[in-house]
Amino acid sequence: MTQRIVVDPITRIEGHLRIEAEIKDGKIVDAFSSGTMVRGIEIILKGRDPRDAWAFVERVCGVCTTVHALASVRSVENALGMVIPPNADLIRNLMFCAQYMQDHVVHFYHLHALDWVDVVSALSADPQKTSDIAKSLSNWPKSSPGYFSDLQKRLKGFVESGQLGIFANGYWGHPAYKLPAEVNLIGVAHYLEALEWQKEIVKVHTIFGGKNPHPNYLVGGVPCAINLDGNNAINAERLAYVQKLLEDAKTFVNQVYIPDLVAVAKYYKSDWGAIGGGLKNYLAYGDLPLNGYNNPESFKFPRGIVMDRDLTKIIPVDASDPQQIQEFIAHSYYNYSDGNKTGKHPWAGETNLHYTGPKPPYDYLKVEEQYSWLKTPRWKGNPMEVGPLSRMLVGFAAGNKEIQEVVKWGLSALEAPVEALFSTLGRTAARGLETKLVADWGLEFFNSLITNIKNGDTRTANTEKWDPETWPAEAKGVGLTEAPRGALAHWIVIKDKKIDNYQLVVPSTWNASPRDMNGQRSAYEESLIGTPIADPEKPLEILRTIHSFDPCLACAVHLYDEKGTYLHQLHTF
């Protein structure tokens, strides 16, 4: 007999996500992923100044803050043929690196760890043994028996108060938790330390962008000026601050995050290194230019596609080709004017917002019909996974030495075969491995910035085409980046100096979307098939795999005119 279970809300994510799964003989046989919230940012964008768009779309997501702003300013610069100064590229790269480190560490400890770490079990840990294990994992100084004993006392008092707060009603004691009590206690300690640390690295954004979340960006460069002999711009003190933040971050990543990841993964690799693989196609747009955004061959994260897990071949992707990336709506709450069976490239996107789901309150979605506010993007008709694993696999297949080395290092540290990459655990490990790279790269970009300034280049903005009078009557652009959660692109059409169309296809649209008209599942749904469920009342296993993607479902956004004729679409997660 098949049993339908519903997990809604999926917590410890960004946004509103619902999973319905069918279970037979203790395993998931089908799954349906639904985005249950829409905001409609696009009508708001239509007719506005393209130079303002970054601020609107940055509000698509406050967790991966900055990434939409970056894609947006790039789309406008691409449309208008603007080239930004090298310092602006470097500062954007530094903000990118800071975002990755903060976001991935928060994901690991605060969004994902409770799927693997049993907080209640930590109460029975032996502090001395915990200290011994911690010291064997890394030389992070906070590892004395007294430290763990104090922490345990604090945790005990908390639990005994009866007010469990964020830990209330977790799946504690579930048979799928496998860590020894001591490793659980280390996990809890670092949960709290990471919470305190993450607020530091974001100061890189504050220095260059004035605040975090939602730092400021600028079409044509970055808003902050450099003046070594002024006290109102980026000077030696500000730069020293950035350097310190990057160095501390690298220490935290290498001494806390990576050792914890390896330690936890070892206990789970035998099963979770083979569960949750899902799709076999991986897409990355690549990012972190060394020689400008227009030279993708210089990117630290390479661009390309891996099909059918074949790491010997890299396939190029062209976001401007109308035949490559298209969006479908067979199971989404929309209509297309020429029928719902065609796909549309984002520059020609069209959306009729059309809710056909059950009237709330409801128990189940109509999964045979439409069941999500997300559209379904496809590359040449194929479903693609995006995210850290895709970046590592594309980089590996592209022959990128740094990526090949870190992946090989990771596999040997875990004593796991290459196949283990294609799994729930592989996704979680890939996130850690790329963070290790980014921690190094941040300091490389910093040194390049210092060298540039030393050589007399202090430019941070190119204002040649700031004035709309210099723009053509019509222009189209696309801005590509790699959000922490995967490939992100914004497409813009500018007409008469205003936004005529603006669309986003974001990582969670690729990963979390409903199936297409041919019944091909997207990444979340496919990855759940075959997952064992020990207790349908406590579907911890679903959380593990879904969290391994780091869901981010801020909204599915759609453009339409004042008469209610829906014209354009955007999805943003």
Partner: protein
């Protein structure tokens, strides 16, 4: 308050903290609120006799930037807030439970602590299409809000979404995104404005309720006066440049490198009430203007529709109008406002001369 729950002091004792630690903590809170020593004594008394406050954090139409901002708080630290000061019983961003276990936690808190819990709302509520634009656990966000707000001791609206609808409520507001005070049926809502609000402002509002057992004084828009009573313009360290008529004219120009006023680049400081110039961001590191970008006015209702950001509309407070507020103005000059309107400008010639003189000295040093 429910007497069966231990007080904050008792809990700290149980966790092995000394009286001294406790006093330190109280002083810290007092300092965060800018209190004199007599006020700190009041904090001590309050926390000795009060238990951990049950708190429910709901997420509707939002981007989670408010939650992200909250965890950036440096004083108090957010780990200390959620472990020692409040009992954060429901927040989709951080809670361990999911699905019906999460829903059960919410139900349990609002029933067990009826009239005692504080409700925090992040996000606006869509009122069109029977609420289908935002559903959680199959229920519309409006229904959830009605159920949870009914017996809340206090309601806080985090950020511009919950306070004013933010970006999704900008013209023409496709989903009917509505700020929660419009749906709170007469209950007082504390609007903690900003996109997002400053971390220490968020923590400060919670600490205020916790320490004094009452909500902070609010302005006519429901914003706590402690954090929203002055304009960014009036607390901006670049204000002397404005008074002196020294402006950035173009991105990365010489004036930008010198840190002149960003008014002509569209700065909304003159009509934005927030603490950015005082508390600054991320533990005082910087704020938008200090990092070279104009204020976009993110703590004001409808700021998205007051664009474009890099221009001022004709009716925007600016030169001339400001002169009445700025009593130090001495001389008169004339400047054209970028783009739309020209106003008479009042310039503090003396101040301008002083600043210019200072900068010339700097230039000489460079040479």
């Amino acid at each position: 308050m429910n007497e069966t729950r231990p007080t904050v002091y008792e809990e700290l004792q149980a966790k092995g903290h000394s009286r001294r630690d406790f006093m330190k903590f109280c002083t810290f809170i007092g300092a965060a609120l800018g209190l004199e020593s007599t006020g700190i004594a009041q904090v001590v008394k309050a926390l000795e006799t009060k238990s951990r406050l049950p708190v429910v954090w709901l997420h509707f139409q939002e981007c989670t930037c408010c939650s992200e901002s909250f965890i950036r708080s440096s004083h108090p630290l957010v780990a200390d807030v959620i472990l020692d000061k409040i009992s954060l019983d429901y927040t989709e961003t951080l809670m361990a439970a999911a699905g019906h276990q999460a829903e059960a936690t919410l139900k349990n808190t609002i029933e067990k602590y009826k009239g005692q819990y504080v409700l925090l709302v992040e996000g606006s509520i869509p009122t069109k299409e029977d609420g289908a634009y935002c559903c959680i656990g199959g229920k519309s966000s409006y229904d959830i809000f009605k159920e949870v707000s009914k017996d809340a001791k206090a309601i806080i609206a985090w950020g511009n979404c919950a306070s004013a609808g933010c970006v999704q409520a900008a013209n023409p507001n496709p989903t009917g995104a509505t700020p929660i005070y419009k749906l709170a049926e007469g209950k007082t809502v504390i609007n903690v404005q900003g996109c997002p609000p400053i971390a220490e402002v968020m923590a400060g509002v919670i600490v205020h309720i916790l320490a004094f057992d009452r909500i902070p004084q609010l302005d006519s828009l429901g914003r706590p006066k402690a954090f929203y009573s002055s304009r960014v313009h009036d607390t901006c360290y670049r204000r002397p440049n404005y008074d002196a008529g020294l402006f950035v004219e173009s991105w990365d120009d010489e004036n930008a490198k010198k840190g002149y006023c960003l008014y002509k680049m569209g700065c909304r400081g003159p009509n934005t009430y927030n603490s950015c110039g005082v508390i600054k961001w991320n533990n005082g590191v910087s704020f938008p203007i200090q990092s070279g970008h104009p204020c976009i006015g993110c703590s004001e209702a409808n700021f998205w529709d007051n664009g474009p950001f890099y221009k001022h509309l004709a009716n925007f407070p600016g030169f001339g109008i400001e002169s009445t507020a700025d009593k130090v103005g001495i001389g008169l000059g004339a400047v054209t406002v970028a783009g739309i309107a020209a106003h008479a400008v009042v310039t503090n010639i003396r101040k301008r001369k002083e600043i210019m003189k200072g900068l010339r000295t700097t230039d000489n040093n460079i040479a």
